[in-house]
Assembly symmetry: C2
Homo-oligomer: 473 residues x 2
C-alpha cells in the first residue's frame, strides 16, 4: 500500500478546515476591497532568475526548485543545468515583477491585495509549514503617510471583524532606529546585525540582547546607550501606569506624549548631528500617522514602540507589528519599503505593505473558540431522505425546491433504511432532516425533524418553503 500522507511539511485541508480558512480569508478580502485594494494573482512557479538573489543565501537554499524537463536537463552544467524554475517564495518579488511588467496597464497608484500560498523548504515544526498562505496588501506609488494610516485602519478593521479586541498595532520607524544607532555610535556596517538582535528583545529580553550585541563586538558603553534609548521604561510602560511621566491613559494622547518625550531626548545632540536629523524626520512621520488615524476607531490599538525593529532589512520608514497577549510571535506586520518594488526597473518606487499571518490568526482563533458556531457543522442545512428507487426523483425535486428557498440541501444518495439515513444525517451534522416516507409521499407532505431538539413536524408540500429552517438556537 502506498503512503497516503501529504508531503512533508504540507497539509490537507478537510472541509472543516477549509470552512475556517475561507471564513477568515473572506473577511480579509471584503475589508481590503472596501478600502479599494484590488486582487492580484501570480503563478505558483516563477523563472528561477526572477527569484535568484532576492532572498539572501538562506532563501536560496529554502527555495523549491523545479527539475528541468526532458532534453534541457544537463547533469554536467551545475545547478543551471538541473533547474530553471522555482516555486514562489513570497508575494513581494512577484509583485515587483508585475509592477515592472505591466507599468502601462496599472494605475499610477496601485493598491493590491494578494492571498496565495508560498513554499519554503524549511525544517517543518509546530506552526511552521512548507506550504503556507501569505495575505499581503501593498500600496505602490505614494510616499505619503496617508498610505500607512489607511493600512493600519484596514488591518484593525479586519481584526475587529474577526472578533479580536485585545490586539496592539505597534508602530515605529526604521530611521528612528538608525538615528538611535547613530547617536549610540554603532558602526554602520554592524547595524543590520544590531537590528536583528534588537528585534529579539521580546523573546530574549535585555540581558539576551546585551549578550548578543557583546558577541558582535559592540562596546559595552554603546550597548548601554542604545538599550537605554529603546527600552526606556517610560515608553514601555502601559499608558497611565508610568509614575514619572504620567503618560495619558488614552492611547492617542500617550503616543503623542511619548513622541514629544523622544524628541526631547535628542535635544542634547547638536543640530547637524545626522542621528538628530534622522530622528526628527522619523518622529514627524510617526506623528503624522498618529494624527491621521486620530479620527478613526483604530487609534486605540496603535502603540508607538521604539523597541520595534522588524527583522527584514528592506524597510525604509514606518514599521508595524500586530500582537496579541496569548501569542509569542506576531499576527502580522509590515512597513514602508521604498527601495524594493523598483528592483526590476531603473527607478525607485515608493511602497508600503502589510502582511497578515493567516496560519497564526487561525491558530489563535481556534484556541480561543472565535469561529462562529455554524462553521462547526456540515455545509448543508437539510438532508432529504430517499424512500425507494421509484420515488427518488421526488426527493430530488423536494431538494430543488428547498434550494430555491436558499437552503443547502443534501439528498441521501441511495434508497436505504431510514435508520441509516438518520445516522448519516447526525454524522455529517445537518440540522434538519426532511423525511419523504411512504405516508408523506401518499399525503403530499414532508416531515421535518429538527436534529438538535428531536422535534418533528409534518407540513404540506406546498408550504415547505415557508418552514423556518433557519431558526435554530
Amino acid at each position: 500500500m502506498s503512503k497516503t500522507q501529504p508531503a512533508r511539511g504540507m497539509r490537507d485541508f478537510l472541509p472543516a478546515d477549509v470552512r475556517k480558512r475561507n471564513y477568515v480569508i473572506n473577511i480579509i478580502r471584503e475589508v481590503y476591497e472596501s478600502y479599494g485594494f484590488e486582487p492580484l494573482e501570480t503563478p505558483a512557479v516563477e523563472n528561477l532568475e526572477t527569484l535568484t538573489g532576492k532572498y539572501g543565501e538562506e532563501g536560496g537554499q529554502l527555495m523549491f526548485k523545479i527539475l528541468r524537463r526532458g532534453e534541457s536537463l544537463d547533469l554536467t552544467a551545475g545547478e543551471r543545468g538541473l533547474t530553471d524554475l522555482a516555486l514562489r517564495y513570497d508575494l513581494t518579488v512577484p509583485l515587483a515583477r508585475v509592477v515592472a511588467n505591466y507599468r502601462n496597464e496599472l494605475p499610477r497608484f496601485f493598491k493590491r491585495y494578494q492571498i496565495q500560498p508560498v513554499w519554503r523548504a524549511d525544517r517543518p515544526a509546530r506552526g511552521r509549514f512548507r506550504e503556507f498562505y501569505q495575505c499581503d496588501v501593498d500600496a505602490i506609488g505614494s510616499g505619503s503617510m496617508l498610505v500607512e494610516a489607511e493600512q493600519i485602519a484596514a488591518v484593525a478593521e479586519i481584526l475587529n471583524r474577526l472578533g479580536f479586541k485585545d490586539f496592539t498595532i505597534r508602530i515605529n520607524d526604521r530611521e528612528l532606529l538608525d538615528a538611535m544607532m547613530e547617536v549610540s555610535s554603532i558602526d554602520k556596517a554592524m547595524r543590520p546585525q544590531v537590528l536583528g538582535a534588537i528585534d529579539k528583545l521580546d523573546k530574549i529580553g535585555v540581558e539576551g540582547v546585551t549578550k548578543e550585541l557583546l558577541g558582535l563586538g559592540i562596546p559595552e558603553g554603546n550597548i548601554e546607550h542604545i538599550l537605554f534609548k529603546i527600552t526606556n521604561k517610560d515608553f514601555l510602560a502601559d499608558p497611565g501606569q508610568n509614575e514619572i511621566h504620567k503618560f495619558s491613559a488614552d492611547r492617542f494622547t500617550a503616543n503623542n506624549q511619548m513622541l514629544d518625550f523622544f524628541r526631547e531626548s535628542f535635544k542634547v545632540y547638536p543640530d547637524e548631528n545626522p542621528g538628530k536629523i534622522l530622528a526628527g524626520k522619523a518622529i514627524e512621520r510617526l506623528r503624522e500617522i498618529i494624527s491621521l488615524t486620530g479620527n478613526l476607531s483604530c487609534k486605540d490599538y496603535i502603540k508607538f514602540d521604539p523597541s520595534l525593529a522588524r527583522g527584514l532589512s528592506y524597510y525604509t520608514g514606518a514599521i508595524f507589528e500586530i500582537n496579541v497577549p496569548d501569542l509569542a510571535g506576531s499576527l502580522g506586520g509590515g512597513g514602508r519599503y521604498d527601495g524594493l518594488i523598483g528592483m526590476f526597473g531603473k527607478e525607485q518606487i515608493p511602497a508600503c505593505g502589510f502582511s497578515l499571518g493567516l496560519e497564526r490568526i487561525l491558530v489563535v482563533m481556534d484556541e480561543r473558540g472565535m469561529f462562529p458556531p455554524e462553521l462547526r457543522s456540515s455545509s448543508a442545512d437539510v438532508l432529504v431522505t430517499v424512500w425507494n428507487a421509484e420515488t427518488a426523483g421526488e426527493s430530488l425535486r423536494l431538494a430543488g425546491e428547498l434550494r430555491q428557498a436558499g437552503l443547502r440541501v443534501l439528498v441521501y444518495p441511495e434508497p436505504d433504511k431510514f435508520g441509516k439515513q438518520f445516522k448519516y444525517a447526525a454524522a455529517v451534522g445537518v440540522r434538519f432532516v426532511a423525511v419523504l416516507g411512504e405516508s408523506e409521499l401518499a399525503d403530499n407532505t414532508v416531515t421535518i425533524k429538527n436534529m438538535a431538539t428531536g422535534e418533528q413536524q409534518t407540513v404540506g408540500r406546498s408550504r415547505i418553503s415557508d418552514f423556518g429552517f433557519r431558526i435554530v438556537d
Copy 2:
C-alpha cells in the same frame, strides 16, 4: 534589466482578470455548496511516489518535478536522486489519497468540491497553459444513479446561473460503448484505442475515425458495424427533426424514445450475448438517470448521445460532456469511475465526478460578453479627495463613514491638485468622487460627482450615508 514576464505558459491575473475568475468560481462554489458538496484543499506539492504511474507515460513526462534539496541531491542515482516531489497534476489522485488517508474522519458518503490549480509541462498554445484551474466535484461511496442525476442538476444550475442557456449535457454509458464493440467484434485489447478514435468523432468526422480505425488494423466490416451503431442518424438528429422515427421535440421524451430504439437494435443478438447483457444494464442506468432528472429543470439540457466516448480510460459507467455551439471542445465533463478512488487501498470504492473547464468557461463568457457590467470597473465605488495634509484625516474619516454605509472607498493617497485626483478617478473607473475641498471642509459638506453623468451635488456631511451611491444607470 531582468525579464519580467511570468514563466512560460503561466499567467499573471491582474485585478480585472481576478474579478472575472472569482465571479465564476463563487457561483460554482455556491451552487455546489447548495447541493451539500464540501470544500477540500490539498497541497500543490505531492510526494513523487504518490503520483508516479498514475497518469501514463505522457503524464509522467508532463509532470513538474521538484529538485531534491541539499544533501539529498544525488547526481549518480538517476531520477530518484534528482527529485522526490512533484506539482499536482490533477485533483483526482490527491482525492484518492485523501480518501485513503482520512477514512475514519470522512463521512460514509463523501461529496467534495475542489477548485485549485494544477500544473502540466505541456507545450503552451492558445488556451493551453502550464498552470490552470480545475473545478472538480466528486461523490464518493455510492453506486446509485441518484449521484449522477444530482451532479447533472448541479452543473446545469451553475451554467444557468452563469447565464448559459444554449448548452447540452450529452450523456452516454461506457458499458454501452463496450457492448457496441462487443457485438461489432472489436478485440478486447484494441478497445481503449478504438474508444480513443471514436472520441474524436466531433473533430474529425466519420471519415477520419474510419481512417484511424483502419490504421489500428480493425477490419472494415467491424468498423462499419460499430460506426453504424454510434453514428446512427436516428440518434444524432435533433429531436423532432427525424423523418423516420419522429422522435419527440421534447428532449425528455426523445431521450426515452432513443433508449427504446437502441434496446430494440440489440434484440437481434441472443440473450446470452455478453454485449447484449452489457447493453441492457447500461440502458437501464441511462434510463434511470433520465427518469430521476425528469422532474428537474435540467431535463431539457440532457441529450443521450451514443457517440460520446470521453478519452480517459478509467470511466466505468455513465459519462457526461457539456457542449455549447460556439466552442469546439467541451465546457466540462465527467462520469462514473468506480475503480480509481480505491487505488491507495484494497477495496473498490464507487465514485462519480464532474470537472468544469474554468478556463474555457471564462473564454466563452468573455467572447459573448456574459460578465455583469460592474465587473468591468474598479473594485471601488467612490474616490474621496484629499485637500491638504492638515485635512487628510477628515478624508480618511469620511471614507470610514462611507464604508460603514457598505461602499468600497478609495482615498486619494496624498494631497494633490484636484485635476489630478479626478484624472486618477477616471483612470481606475470609480463611479463617484466625493470631493472634500476647501469650501466643503468649511461648510461641513461633501460634493458628490457622478463620473458617468458629470452631475454634481453638494450634501451635508450628516446626510452622506443616505446619498444614493448605488443608483447608476
